[in-house]
């Protein structure tokens, strides 16, 4: 049983403690609360460096120091505070940094409301448990044999076939019916690789439809996106050793993952609104009358500063889009403003929650919209890498990891 130390404030009084416990149980883990003395809480400033007005936050920090001093107390750490609590947000961020800097224990940071459910937390908890439980498998750097991966995403379904550390076939279709889309993408990948389904030694699935597709296709590995995307990203970017940051702006949610030697350390998964996701860029492309594949090239010719846009909400973002076009803005400026707006939200909401260390690798289909990595570079002041097969990152990660299970 994986022990996840819960360092939190407010979960009980928000009525979501049961949901947190349920999510942990669903992924084969239990929540534990490291014991501390009243003196530890009172003297938290001496050991942690800060003391705040809320006692429960001081208790969370005291527990963090206890874990760092006794790493055997927990396999992973879940830091959670109420959404919209400034004091909680500061402490949550400092605890995450403290654990990250002083131990090798994976940390998940989360802010909840009373609407948080176990299902919302499931992927995050699964990734946390995988990171803690399968370090050996995650340390795998080479793909061997003939394996495949299917990424059943919210917008698109992707598949790859790999042989001896090389991608030899790919397939990509928009997601409609989950099984049918997976079948189409898989068949396309098999066809382009020139291999038969029966020859595949192991299949890994990921994405929202991973369980359904995995069961249907008899997958040897069914894994959430955070783990496989990290693995796929560092593999394709040739950054398997040392630090890296993986950014994946998806159709429905975004992931920011701080990676150490190919293994996720801290990560966030979110997206307050579709305005911060690939959906908004799709909508922009449609409104501008260009294919999504052309939006990035158009954006590269534009200047985001000429168009005020804040797509914090997709409805208001669309309003800005329509208003700016009506006011005579150039389509290329609008395209770049849309890319900048999405990048800005990910930068503000998610990249503040992980340690951004180079190389910064952008993956997923949206990474191919050139304006988006460019906007991210401008915001971070760092070079952003977009590896080959960036849109197939999940499948590549799944294919790579499943080859470890085939060998075993």
């Amino acid at each position: 049983m994986i022990r996840i130390a819960q360092l939190s404030c407010g979960s009980e009084y928000s009525g979501v403690q049961g949901e947190l416990e349920k999510a942990a149980e669903m992924v084969g883990a239990e929540l534990v609360f490291p014991e501390v003395s009243l003196e530890d809480v009172r003297n938290v400033e001496e050991r942690f460096g800060i003391k705040v007005a809320s006692g429960d936050l001081n208790l969370a920090m005291a527990r963090a120091t206890r874990i760092v001093e006794n790493p055997d107390l927990a396999d992973a750490v879940f830091v959670a505070t109420c959404f919209r609590c400034a004091e909680g947000a500061i402490v949550r961020s400092e605890i995450r940094k403290y654990i990250h800097e002083n131990s090798r224990i994976p940390v998940l940071s989360y802010s909840f409301t009373e609407r948080t459910t176990a299902e919302t937390l499931l992927t995050r908890m699964e990734a946390l448990v995988t990171t803690a439980k399968f370090k050996g498998l995650l340390a795998r750097e080479r793909q061997t044999g003939l394996t495949a991966g299917i990424d059943s995403g919210s917008t698109t379904t992707k598949a790859v076939v790999m042989r001896d550390n090389e991608v030899i076939g790919t397939g990509w279709v928009p997601t409609t019916e989950v099984i049918k889309s997976a079948e189409d993408a898989y068949n396309a990948a098999l066809e382009s690789a020139g291999v038969k389904k029966e020859e595949i030694q192991g299949l890994g699935t990921t994405g929202y439809g991973r369980h359904l597709v995995g069961k249907e296709f008899g997958a040897k590995l069914i894994q959430e996106e955070i783990t496989v995307n990290s693995k796929g990203a560092v593999f394709l970017a040739d950054a398997q050793r040392g630090e890296a940051t993986v950014i994946d702006i998806g159709g429905m949610d975004n992931k920011a993952i701080s990676v150490q030697d190919g293994i996720p350390g801290t990560f966030t998964m979110g997206g307050i609104c579709a305005g911060a996701s690939g959906r908004f860029l799709e909508l922009t492309a449609r409104r501008l009358g260009v294919e999504i594949t052309e939006l990035g090239k158009l954006a590269m010719k534009g200047d985001h500063q000429k168009v005020p846009m804040n797509s914090y909400c997709i409805v208001f973002g669309t309003q800005s889009l329509v208003n700016s076009l009506s006011a005579g803005s150039r389509p290329e400026d609008v395209a770049m403003a849309a890319c900048h707006s999405v990048a800005e939200q990910v930068f503000e909401q998610q990249l503040q929650e992980v340690e951004v260390k180079e190389p910064v690798i952008m993956v997923g289909g949206t990474a191919l919209i050139e304006g988006l990595p460019r906007a991210m570079e401008q915001l971070l002041g760092l070079k952003v890498m977009v590896p080959e097969y960036a849109q197939y990152i999940g499948c590549v990660g799944a294919s790579l990891l499943v080859s470890g299970l085939v060998e075993d």
């Binding site: 407010g10 009084y13 505070t81 909840f112 009373e114």
Partner: protein, 145 residues
């Protein structure tokens, strides 16, 4: 006999002082007991559910963190019920029901603006101050009669 809310609302010492003078002490443990004993609810250990922060909307707006609103669903009705209050400042270490500083600020504010007899005291730091502390509280409570 009047209903006296004590702050910190978890203080058993203050509750005892109130009850010794024949008044009813409003303390959060009684509210928690009601929740724990509510049949049909299964959200241990406190039986707080996502409905509780919604009840707290009566005391704090929706953009106030859910933990504050959830705590206020326990403390708010006590404040409404109170005929008098004793507020102790400088309590050193508060956890659980009083573990959120924002909730504590709101509780103290609502008690102060309710215009009920209110005694505000600093937490005693030595024996002499402790004796004076008890004396002032007794005087206040007896005055309520």
């Amino acid at each position: 006999m009047v209903k006296v809310m004590v702050y910190p609302p978890t203080s058993m010492i203050l509750a005892d002082l109130v009850e010794r003078t024949g008044h009813e002490a409003l303390v959060v443990s009684k509210e928690v007991r009601k929740k724990v004993n509510t049949p049909g609810l299964d959200s241990p250990p406190l039986n707080m559910t996502p409905e509780d922060p919604k009840k707290g909307l009566k005391y704090a707006a929706v953009d106030v963190p859910s933990g504050v609103r959830g705590r206020m669903s326990l403390l708010g009705p006590m404040i409404e019920e109170a005929d008098a209050a004793i507020v102790i400042r400088g309590d050193d270490c508060t956890l659980g029901c009083t573990g959120c500083a924002r909730t504590n600020e709101l509780t103290r504010f609502l008690l102060k603006t309710k215009r009920i007899p209110l005694l505000e005291l600093k937490y005693p730091e030595d024996e002499f101050q402790a004796k004076q502390f008890v004396h002032k509280i007794r005087e206040f409570l007896e005055g309520l009669n």
